[in-house]
Subunit: 221 residues, 2 copies
């Protein structure tokens, strides 16, 4: 019989852990069963706490869901910033960045987003609660991308267009995976996009190694 591990945790510790377990459970269930299929009962059970504990920590289901999304996004923003420092140290290509972004989005992030977007669309309270968090996420994205495009001597505005297009493309791809299961298709599309970005970045600094893709049409002139 092992000694019971009871290190007499402080209230703050107990509380924080319970809260975190609930947040994690909420995100996992949203991902696995969808928002509609995620009841407060399920969340409490998955978290291994009672429903009473849940109602103690969160005023309503909506509040819990919003907090869970916020927590998820903050963690991903952390990942993004740590990646940004690596880019700043010159350890990244546009290909790698696109691959990284697609990885982050398709791991769980955008599938969970697809779960709560409808709710955000029809529930103003919920939406307003989430907008600032999403803004932080975009700011973090802008930072890392600005780093990259600046290095290529690209104008910030043009770079931002490229970033925004990239993110929209990734969103659209992931949304499509739900009704079209075709990995080679997505692989091909992502490679196509990486090549496009490479070409545009190369075109942005013609003084260095010059544009390689755009030279092809010159034969015709």
């Amino acid at each position: 019989m092992a000694q019971q591990p009871k290190p007499r945790r402080s209230q703050a510790e107990r509380s924080a852990e319970t809260r975190q377990r609930l947040l994690d459970a909420a995100v996992s269930l949203m991902h696995e069963r969808g928002l509609a299929g995620t009841s407060t009962n399920d969340i409490a059970e998955t978290a291994g706490v009672s429903r009473g504990a849940l109602t103690h920590h969160f005023e309503s289901r909506e509040e819990l869901i919003a907090a869970a999304i916020e927590d998820m996004l903050d963690k991903v923003i952390g990942e993004l910033k740590s990646y940004a420092t690596r880019v700043a140290e010159g350890e990244s290509s546009s290909d790698a960045l696109i691959e990284f972004l697609y990885g982050v989005m398709s791991d769980r992030l955008f599938y969970v987003t697809l779960e709560y977007l409808p709710e955000a669309r029809h529930n103003a309270m919920f939406r307003h609660r989430l907008v600032p968090v999403v803004s932080r996420w975009h700011a973090a994205l802008d930072g890392i991308w600005g780093e990259l495009t600046a290095r290529y001597g690209m104008k910030p505005e043009a770079g931002r267009d490229l970033l925004n297009a990239t993110m929209c493309l990734i969103r659209g791809m992931i949304a499509q995976t739900i009704l079209r299961d075709d990995p080679p298709y997505y692989r091909r599309l992502l490679d196509f996009w990486k090549a496009s970005i490479r070409a545009q970045l190369a075109a942005a600094r013609p003084e260095r190694n010059g544009p390689r893709i755009v030279t092809i049409p010159l034969r015709g002139q």
Copy 2:
């Protein structure tokens, strides 16, 4: 007292109208209140028929929702095909096509799609029911786009990449509108994309009017 307009409709006519009213109501409500906020009660009320009539025509809520989506998609496929004939007659540019596609998607189509995608993701029956309809939609898209790219002498594969990227971009943009209300942003992004497509199409037929966008970097060489 006006004569009651009772042209003694046949059973088939009565039935078809009731059914159609239910389908239309279901799509409208999905768009306005979301899938979760659309009960069979609401649908029957909006359609102006009794709930009994609803259960008579559709075995279950799920079946009704699926039929409504199918109906919506089939109608849009119709629009698409009629647009395709206009393209075949040479009455369209890539700019106009992109604008048309964005218009179709953002009018209702993709917002409704965002409503049922989560359900499709977690409900295999529902998903399998929808896959063939979505395939028809993509086939219609391929047709119209192939028409356009062929006219520009572009290889079918390259053209398809462009189409797929365009559709994913549009999907991602529309998804983003829910948490980012910023029309100029979307306008700008769409214009950016139209320019990109124009450049790629121009590059595909250098023998005609030659590439205009890609000539800029030549100064540096």
